[in-house]
Amino acid sequence: MNDHQEKPMESRTSATAVDIRNLSFNYGSTQALKNIGLNLKRNEVTAFIGPSGCGKSTLLRCINRMNDEIAGTRITQGEILIDDINIYDRSVDVVKLRRQVGMVFQKSNPFPSSIYDNVAYGLRMRGERDSAVLDQSVQESLESAALWDEVKDRLQESALGLSGGQQQRLCIARTIAVKPTIVLMDEPCSALDPIATAKVEDLIWKLKHDYTFIIVTHNMHQAARVSDKTAFFYMGELVEFSDTSRMFSNPSVKKTEEYITGRFG
């Protein structure tokens, strides 16, 4: 079942954004991830799919160490390399890591402050005080997130007044404002209507030239629409990882086929 991860990776290291090697992860005594190996390339969109509880979100959160905040979790084996650095090494400053690996959450979570402050937050935390730099960054980020035209006249109003879709795009703008190289998205569209979802997907497609996206989704169509590569997880194991077009047309493992055709999950 694990034959795919033993396959030599076709890409060269320089094109690799995230290299996950033999990773196992535990919640207390429960093993949530079993010996995962994955090599994600730069400027590609990778989708993680699988039934609930299969470990896809856990793996995503491992990539910027968000699991550190949860008591009782630990990596039991393996490592994750970003730019050839093991991010679980003792010498790694989590704060610096997260500046390079941004994250958008399932539920949009803007801060209860103005739109402007939300986008400028990351830069300000980095010590940026120059208002011209902040202004420019806010505008660029909102433009990239296709939100600028909708909010440019009310930047000082509360972000909580935006619609759900706008809030999620604001969260994306906030994430890319700090110029990460990798953006992790944990079911970013699960709470959005089809039109808002389409906007976010367009956005991912548009931005993929500048960022590496990893997106967890329950929506097969979404995975098929936005991703270049797809990884299918089941019960904490990586079942299949290949080009999206291939996986959805001709999956090599029976389990994958059953899942994407909706026979379980």
Binding site: M66, V95, G102, F105, N109, F111, Y121
Partner: protein, 635 residues
């Protein structure tokens, strides 16, 4: 329609209600309990208002008597005399500080020698008493006993001289001489050792020597002091006459009240015989209107004399100010003299204004109710049970309560908020499990227990710290009173920490974890997340926590009663922050202390109820504001 309904009720159907059910009973029980608390609260408020609001008319009558009997007139002069006495005392203290400051070396030497000698006598004293007071030992009749006692005395003497206390200001030779004289001191000797006596003389000589150049200052002080004698004696005379008038007025008031009660009872009585008897009693109780006019005329005749005496005192005081020395060498003396100089212009101004006040004063001026209310709210004096006149001014109590609350909050806010942030945001689960219960445990300490810890441990430690040289830069140190505003504030801080901590921690907990997660995913550190996201998002809740802590501090009674020192006086702010080390009384403390002793229904009793109303209103206001913030946080 009605018949239709009843017929409906008779014919049962499958959805038929089954009468008064068990469920309804439970529901009724719960509802009555909820209702009961509201009823009780209403009753408490009604009771407070009923007992309290009678205070103002009663106090107004008190103030009216104060005016009609002429006590107010006497107080115009008396206030000035009091200031005069205070100034005299300041000058005297400055004088002695100067003399003793210059003789400081001699003072230290005599003190050290006496201390050494006293330590010696303390040690040998009991044995010595046995020898000289025992007739058997003295008469040589029992030689064995005498020898044994003498042997014991030798032993005690050895012990006493084993480690004599330090005497840095005595020369080695003097010290040796003193020790030698003690070593050879016979048990029956009564006179001081030669060095102790010599040093005492030396000190007196030094005092005299240093007093000589200050002779002029001494004369100025004495002259100034005697300038107030005439005013003092006329006040004494007037006091006697007005006190008599006041007593007559008060007796008449009581009789009048009795009469009204009797009349009221008579009008309600149905039995004609009984009614007649009550009416007769009432007629008998009709008081003679006391004659206030004759003594008042005598009093008013003194107006010119009073004014003249004030003029004289003013002239004498202006002269004295010119003559007091411009500079003293001892720092303590300088400080005291400075305080006197500072108070002087106000004193002169008061004296100058006095004659006008005296001539303008009229005993017939009405006392409106607003005077009583104003005098309660802004009065600087809370004097009760005195022979002269009771004043019920809430200011000293309110200031005391507020200052204690300020100390308490300025300690407990930073401590409890940062503890809450730490526990909520930084602590590992194990630390959380330890710190939270421990802080909340403080609440379980009975406040009386905390009170005596405050008196016995904290107050003592504070006083010992305050005399250390290293802390003399702190304003108000060394403290005079072990029990003061600061001590009470510190203990109340301890009591309010659990309240503020728990509520602030709850508020932080209520911040959606998504905020912290988002912030950290954007590369903010833990500290940045705490300050930029957690605190702003829970700000309303934290503010509510602080306010509720404030309410707790203001309402706390036991600790302040035990520890605040209970002196009813507005602290003296001329020492700046040192005012926080003075004793004070509080709104809560005064009720607890005095309510048990006042006669039921008296003005004093009602005054305490009004203090209670004020307290109730303040705490209610604070809690309502806190509630408002909590509601805002929920939105």
């Amino acid at each position: 329609m009605a018949s239709e309904k009843s017929s409906n009720a008779k014919t049962s159907h499958k959805f038929q209600r089954s009468g008064f059910s068990y469920e309804q009973l439970i529901r009724f029980f719960f509802a009555s309990n909820a209702g009961l608390t509201i009823v009780i609260l209403t009753l408490i408020i009604a009771f407070l208002l009923k007992e309290g609001l009678g205070f103002f008319p009663g106090y107004r009558r008190d103030l009216e008597t104060y005016r009609i009997a002429g006590l107010e007139f006497v107080d115009i002069s008396r206030n000035n005399l009091t200031s005069h006495e205070q100034l005299t005392s300041l000058l005297n203290r400055a004088y002695y500080a100067e003399v003793n400051g210059k003789s400081a070396r001699e003072l230290k030497r005599t003190e050290e020698a006496s201390a050494l000698y006293n330590a010696f006598t303390d040690q040998v004293g009991p044995t010595r008493d046995l020898i000289i007071n025992n007739p058997q030992a003295r008469t040589d009749a029992n030689a064995g006993m005498k020898a044994a006692l003498l042997g014991n005395y030798e032993k005690q003497r050895e012990k006493a001289l084993l480690k004599p206390i330090n005497t840095p200001h005595l020369t080695a030779k003097e010290r040796e001489g003193l020790l030698e004289s003690l070593r050879t001191r016979p048990p029956e000797a009564t006179e001081d050792p030669p060095l102790v006596a010599a040093l005492a003389q030396e000190f007196v000589a030094a005092q005299q020597k240093h007093a000589a150049p200050l002779q002029e200052f001494r004369t100025v002080i004495d002259d100034f002091e005697s300038a107030g004698f005439d005013l003092g004696s006329i006040i004494m005379e007037m006091t006697e006459s007005v006190t008599v008038t006041k007593e007559q007025l008060q007796t008449a008031d009581i009789l009048e009240k009795d009469r009204k009660t009797l009349l009221a009872a008579a009008s309600g009585e149905k039995d004609p015989v009984e009614r007649e008897r009550l009416l007769a009693d009432a007629r008998a109780a009709l008081a003679d209107k006391p004659d206030v006019e004759t003594p008042m005329e005598a009093l008013l005749e003194r107006k010119p004399e009073c004014a003249r005496l004030h003029e004289a005192l003013k002239t004498a005081s202006s002269d004295a100010l010119k003559k007091i020395p411009s500079r003293l060498s001892d720092p303590d003396a300088r400080r005291l003299l400075g305080a006197a100089r500072k108070a002087w212009p106000q004193f002169i101004a008061d004296l100058e204004a006095a004659p006008k006040k005296i001539s303008a004063w009229k005993h017939t001026d009405p006392v409106p109710l607003s005077d009583a209310i104003l005098s309660f709210l802004t009065g600087k004096k809370w004097v009760t049970g005195g022979e002269w006149q009771d004043f019920y001014g809430i200011l000293p109590l309110a200031v005391g309560s507020l200052m204690i609350a300020m100390i308490a909050l300025s300690i407990s806010i930073p401590v409890s908020i940062s503890a809450a942030i730490y526990v909520n945001h930084f602590a590992k689960p194990r630390e959380q499990a330890l710190v939270k219960p421990v802080i909340e445990f403080i609440q379980a300490i009975p406040s009386v227990v905390l009170g005596f810890v405050g008196i016995l441990v904290f107050g003592t430690i504070l006083r010992e710290i305050s005399v250390m040289d290293a802390f003399q830069w702190v304003p108000g140190f060394p403290i005079e009173e072990r029990l003061n505003i600061f001590t009470a504030g510190c203990l109340l801080a301890l009591m309010s920490i659990p309240t503020i901590f728990s509520l602030a921690e709850d508020a932080l907990n209520n911040v959606p974890s998504a905020y912290a997660e988002a912030s950290e995913a954007l590369g903010a550190s833990h500290v940045q997340t705490a300050f930029r996201v957690m605190i702003p998002a829970s700000f309303s809740g934290i503010l509510a926590a602080i306010l509720l802590g404030f309410g707790r501090v203001i309402g706390e009674t036991m600790v302040v009663l035990l520890v605040a020192g209970n002196r009813i006086k507005i602290p003296d702010f001329s020492e700046g922050l040192g005012a926080f080390f003075q004793p004070s009384h509080t709104l809560t403390g005064i009720i607890a202390q005095e309510l048990g002793e006042v006669p039921l229904g008296s003005v004093h009793y009602r005054a305490l109820f009004v203090v209670g109303i004020v307290l109730f209103a303040v705490v209610l206001g604070i809690n309502a504001t806190a509630h408002h913030f909590v509601n805002r946080a929920k939105k």
